[in-house]
Amino acid sequence: MSDSKAIRSVTITNPTGVHLRAATLIAGVVRGFDAEVVLKKGFEDAKGTDVLQIASLVAELGDQVSLEARGSDAERVLDALEQLFAENFAENRENTEEAKS
């Protein structure tokens, strides 16, 4: 079903928030699925493939972000995103600061 919808809420747990690289990872995940994703924080929203918009949400440690997906992969894309947030954008495995420098 191409019009299936899903909504979930995640809390930001990594200390540096949804920084630019995290936004890139989010967009990368979203592109791999057949679904449109919108991230919402407060009154602001960002398309799941628009890196600059995601970063502009300025989601910081402790903030709540809602993830809304529409499309045949709606549930699966949110599963993958939830995992990405839960892993703190893989910051435990790689040193982000180093990657940015």
């Binding site: 540096t16 920084h19 890139t24 628009d50 990657a99 940015k100």
Partner: protein, 583 residues
């Protein structure tokens, strides 16, 4: 509209388009595009985005291959930002709906994003800001292509907005088209302040960060009288300032005829009105205003902006130009007055916790004798061309003065041996700007030919206030009774000994203080050339008796605020057509 409060360092009001300087010196040449050019401009934007994208992708691949995938990640992020769909539609809308040029649209939009990030205080978010600027620069580079002009090729008037201006940057600016400066950092003694004063254009420094909020081409008002900067003013503010600009112009026109009249009081006491200059070309401004001489020729510019120590010949060329132009009129050359940190060719000093109390000025000169001697030789050689006086800055003790005089005597002997011409009896004087020198002034006047009170430093050292520190600059006040007593003591000592006493700080150029200073017995004022007409104007409207009465009254007052408001009132009575600025 947005207002910024900074430190006023050069007076005047100017309204104009901005030139935002960053480390690559980009400028946005045009703000609007014609209606029939819109499709072409959108196309140009798309091509620039595509080209920038290819460039970033190539960087990403190269870096990933060389250093590993994770190092390429930041370029991947840039690439994705550049391909952000909403960004693209925003840019296109600005061009189509508002007729912005692609350059202006890119700068406006990306700076708005930067602002979102910059509002956050954490450091990793600040890093995002530099990512945004990086993309902005890349896009602008593609948009402007080879048309990118150098700052020296300006063709229309601009107000220069920068984080900080270095001597090499200001050296490259085309003076004809620069109408004002704003810098995020810096204080009254900063290079920007000095250059602005020399160019006689309004300047505000130390505003704190704001460059992310402004794009090249934005309209800005610089109020150099009150240290205010207004970004993208609303119509009401604009109208108010336009009116003010007009008033300033009218006043300047009204003061113009004073040029050829002598500086004297209404009761006929002749005064000397001298100019403060930094750059040799300013001597023309002095001549234009009918100056009686140069009361303070700062020589720091010779040391700044060059990696090597200036040669004797470089010194001599600069001095001789000024001395020749002034002819019979005196030119007081102040020797080297900088901290070691400002002089590129000197060994970096130990970390100074209090640079104003550190190794600077005459102290530094006496520790670097070859450098000091080079300057003195050049000054002495120039002394044979006209009427030169030598002045030592920041003298704190008699010993220091004697040491400096000994070095000078030694240089004279050397010149004599080589048969080089100079003025043997060149007057030697000192700046009085350290409270210790005031306390010992009765001894100092026995050993110098003249003194010059430097109020900028005297106020700072007396009141223990750094005037480049925004948190305490409000405590910096030349009208403080403690400062006035030191000034009085200095003037009295010099007058008793019948040696000339001059005052060359900013206080001297502020007409509100003129009556007080005349009443304290001052007969020489050294001011920036732009302040001359106003000072001459007030001098010609008062009598010495009136001034004495004002001074008596002031010296009995006990706080700066009362003194300031009383002086403001007295000034207003004599010169009702001029508004009294709050500075």
């Amino acid at each position: 509209m947005k207002k910024l409060q900074g430190i006023a360092v050069s007076p005047g009001v100017v309204i104009g388009e901005t030139l935002v300087m960053d480390n690559e010196g980009f400028r946005i040449p045009q703000r609007f595009v014609a209606r029939d050019a819109i499709d072409g401009e959108v196309d140009r934007l798309d091509k620039a985005i595509a080209a920038a994208g290819q460039e970033i992708a190539a960087n990403r691949d190269a870096v990933s291959k060389e250093l590993g995938e994770k190092y390429g990640a930041i370029f991947e992020a840039h690439l994705q930002m550049l391909r952000d769909a909403r960004l693209h539609s925003e840019l296109e809308e600005m061009i189509r709906e508002r007729h912005y040029s692609p350059e202006y649209a890119v700068s406006r939009t990306l700076r708005r994003y930067a602002q979102v990030f910059q509002r956050l205080e954490s450091s990793y978010l600040a890093e995002r800001v530099s990512d945004i600027f990086d993309i902005e620069k890349r896009l602008l580079r593609h948009l402007l292509g080879h048309q990118r002009e150098e700052l020296s090729h300006l063709t229309s008037p601009v107000l220069v907005l920068a984080h900080n201006l270095t001597p090499s940057e200001t050296a490259n600016l085309n003076r004809k088209f620069v109408r004002g400066f704003v810098t995020e950092v810096g204080g009254p003694g900063s290079h920007t302040a000095i250059v602005a004063e020399a160019l006689e254009i309004p300047a505000v420094v130390g505003t704190g960060p704001f460059l992310a909020e402004v794009s090249g081409g934005d309209q800005v008002i610089i109020d150099g009288d009150n240290g205010l900067v207004v970004l993208r003013p609303d119509e009401e503010t604009l109208a108010r300032y336009q009116h003010e600009v007009e008033e300033i112009r009218t006043l300047a026109a009204r003061l113009e005829p004073l040029r050829d009249l002598p500086t004297e009081t209404r009761d006929g006491v002749r005064l000397r009105l001298l100019g403060n200059i930094e750059f040799p070309y300013e001597v023309d401004h002095c001549i234009d205003r009918g100056a009686d001489g140069v009361g303070l020729y700062r020589t720091e510019f010779l040391y700044l902006g060059s990696k090597t120590e200036p040669t004797e010949e470089i010194h001599y060329q600069a001095y001789s130009q000024v001395v020749r132009t002034m002819g019979e009129r005196p030119v007081t050359i102040r020797t080297f007055d900088l901290g070691a940190d400002k002089v590129p060719h000197l060994r970096s000093p130990e970390e100074e916790r209090n640079p104003f109390l550190g190794l600077r000025s005459i102290r530094l000169a006496l520790r670097n004798l070859p450098m000091f001697r080079t300057q003195l030789r050049a000054i002495l050689r120039a002394s044979s061309l006209g009427n030169v006086q030598i002045m030592f800055p920041l003298v704190s003790t008699l010993l220091e003065l004697r040491q400096a005089k000994m070095v000078l005597a030694d240089v004279m002997e050397d010149l004599q041996e080589h048969g080089i011409e100079f003025q043997r009896d060149v007057p030697i004087g000192m700046m009085v700007e350290v409270p210790a020198a005031v306390m010992m002034i009765d001894d100092f006047v026995e050993e110098v030919a003249f003194v010059s009170i430097g109020t900028n430093d005297l106020v700072q050292y007396t009141l223990a206030v750094d005037r480049s520190n925004r948190d305490v600059v409000g405590l910096y006040n030349p009208a403080d009774p403690a400062v006035l007593k030191l000034i009085q003591k200095t003037i009295d000592a010099a007058n008793r000994k019948s040696i000339p006493v001059n005052l060359c700080g900013q206080m001297s150029g502020s007409p509100v203080y003129t009556m007080l200073l005349l009443g304290l017995g001052l007969r020489q004022f050294s001011v920036s050339p732009s302040a001359m007409p106003e000072i001459k104007n007030i001098c010609r409207r008062v009598t010495i008796d009136e001034c004495n009465a004002v001074a008596n009254r002031v010296m009995a007052m006990e706080n700066a605020r009362d003194i300031k408001s009383y002086l403001g009132g007295e000034f207003k009575k004599r010169v009702p057509e001029v508004r009294v600025d709050s500075g």
